[in-house]
Symmetry: C2
Subunit: 350 residues, 2 copies
């Protein structure tokens, strides 16, 4: 009893099975056309040098002429490797994680992997949902932003048993691997810097993300160590960061006139504040010093240019990708924890 010869009553069309929603051309079709077996087509695609040059050329020409596109769903199911790495960032539209994503994407695509991007909107529960969705798609590895995750996320990741890199912060107990920097340290460094520049009454403006909070607490520790008052802590909503910065600085100038320096969680928010000061003809840094975070494109462009903290956003992405790829290649990762550091960039605004 041979398979599929259907030469009795079926119409002579390419054997439409159920729905014809997708490109109906399969490896089998190509194989039949080229007069080889199914598996030879597979080899031409995956391990071309294990096929006789002649056969290879013939098969390749049929692949091209028939417009054959391998079904990666089937391939992934059979091989248990999808060559997809997923990354979850709080937001993809705002620029702060853009370089990390670029670093990831470049390294991965160079090795034939694809990047699947998810956006958590700074919600741990959304992150958990994404993790489950990604595991369901059987991604080969996962990159997470931050080190704070729900217990369920950790659980899922544990049982899924795939390589994971946490990024953008440091922790003594990573889920698996880590590429980041110390947000607490960055906050402390900026606190030290501002203190040393002579500012005495400071404020911190940020979102409600845990990394921003670490920076705040680092700053606070620095100020307390110098016998200064703890900084004021203002949160801004996620959304339009520029106008959030404007509103925050307006509020500080009007209601906290004693504040002489502000550290913003993000250069875009800080830039909004600079623009507002400019509009009101408020001297920066004489009346009030303004500092940002991340050294984004906008930081050197505003007037006065923004003092900020340089972080290695791009390298975080590159390093995370390399760790993952090494693990997937079966190589050991020399150090599963990589601290990429940061540095204060002094400019005119503080």
């Amino acid at each position: 009893m041979k398979r599929k010869t259907t030469s009795d009553s079926a119409p002579a069309s390419p054997v439409a099975t159920r729905k014809t929603a997708q490109s109906a051309v399969t490896k089998e079709d190509v194989a039949r056309a080229a007069g080889v077996s199914h598996i030879t087509v597979s080899r031409v695609i995956n391990t071309p040098d294990k096929v006789a040059p002649e056969t290879r050329a013939k098969v390749q020409s049929f692949i091209a002429s028939m417009g054959y596109i391998p079904n990666l769903l089937a391939g992934g199911l059979a091989s248990k490797r999808t060559r997809i790495i997923a990354a979850i960032v709080p937001t993809i539209s705002h620029s702060i994680f853009a370089e990390t994503v670029r670093g990831l994407s470049e390294q991965l695509s160079a090795q034939g992997y694809q990047l699947l991007l998810g956006q958590s909107n700074y919600s741990e529960d959304a992150e958990t949902a994404l993790v489950e969705a990604f595991i369901g798609r059987r991604v080969d590895g996962l990159v997470l932003t931050g080190v704070q995750h729900t217990e369920r996320t950790r659980q899922r990741l544990k049982t899924a048993n795939i390589p994971v890199v946490e990024t953008w912060d440091l922790t003594p107990e990573p889920i698996d691997m880590l590429a980041g920097f110390s947000n607490h340290g960055a906050g402390r460094a900026m606190g030290d810097y501002l203190q040393q520049r002579g500012y005495r009454r400071m404020a911190f403006v940020g979102g409600e993300d845990p990394r921003g909070q670490s920076r705040f607490s680092g700053m606070r520790d620095a100020l307390l160590a110098h016998a200064l008052e703890a900084p004021l802590y203002l949160t801004v909503p996620f959304g339009s960061f520029l106008s959030a910065g404007r509103e925050a600085i307006t509020m500080i100038l009007e209601q906290h006139a004693e504040v002489d320096a502000v550290f913003f969680s993000n250069d875009v928010i800080a830039a909004g504040a600079v623009l507002e000061c400019q509009r009101r003809h408020i001297q920066v840094p004489q009346r009030i010093a303004l500092a940002g975070f991340a050294n984004l494109d906008i930081a050197p462009e505003v007037h006065p240019a923004l003092t900020t903290v340089q972080i290695s956003s791009l390298q975080i992405g590159q390093t995370a990708a390399q760790m993952l790829l090494a693990r997937l290649a079966g190589e050991g990762v020399d150090d599963p924890v990589c601290d990429l550091g940061f540095s204060v960039v002094p400019r005119a605004s503080a």
Copy 2:
């Protein structure tokens, strides 16, 4: 000959097949534990109300306790539906397409679909490669930016036979469906506006993307219609748009002193120009008028606030998603071509 009883020589472990890289729990495992069949578990997940409440509860509790995550690869292969919609945008890090992506993502996830995002870097060949990769993953639908694509892209999409929405422009011959606006019209509208405000010698600054070029040619048509000279055409590299805007305006002021108004392809570039003028104490719009495009967050924040063109970025995403979902639900799409329009937003800069 029953299947899989392996009670002879195998170790009593959960039958590790090949690699144990992924969560080994399968529907079969859950079914066995719950004392039901394989397919019942499937129904509990996909069509819970077709299962007796009692059975359902029991199965659900096992799903939870065993941490079962369905293999969507296998599901997609069997059902020929992945519930993934892919979208290709020129860039995800710059803010211009952010709202479109948000509109897509929100509409899709509300219907249980996931968005797979690709970045073409304004390259048609990169777009083609992404299209092939996405078809390989058997996405259920595709959203493209722009209406200009390689012949190969069109071919692949034709044979893949999946719903496609082109966006961000208009064309008389869409591949399938379309949600956009007229870039040529937007350029003409801005040209008309600037002419009507009394500017006489204009320049256009943009990237090399086809939509920017359409806006340029629309502007040119407007000026020529008013017997003005065609605008100067300057291109800037993709990358740091703010500094590109600074450089462009510097160049224009120094080498084309006769220019009295500039239309930038993007608010961020325009904002860079505004910042530069501010720094040099050049009066905007008295010495030179500056206008942007897209009405991004930054447009109202700079000083003077940017005159720009409002487009319906969010609605493009929403509309594209709805068209796709309607098609996938087997409903007809009333009008496969949707022109969402634009409008000039007059502010202080021009």
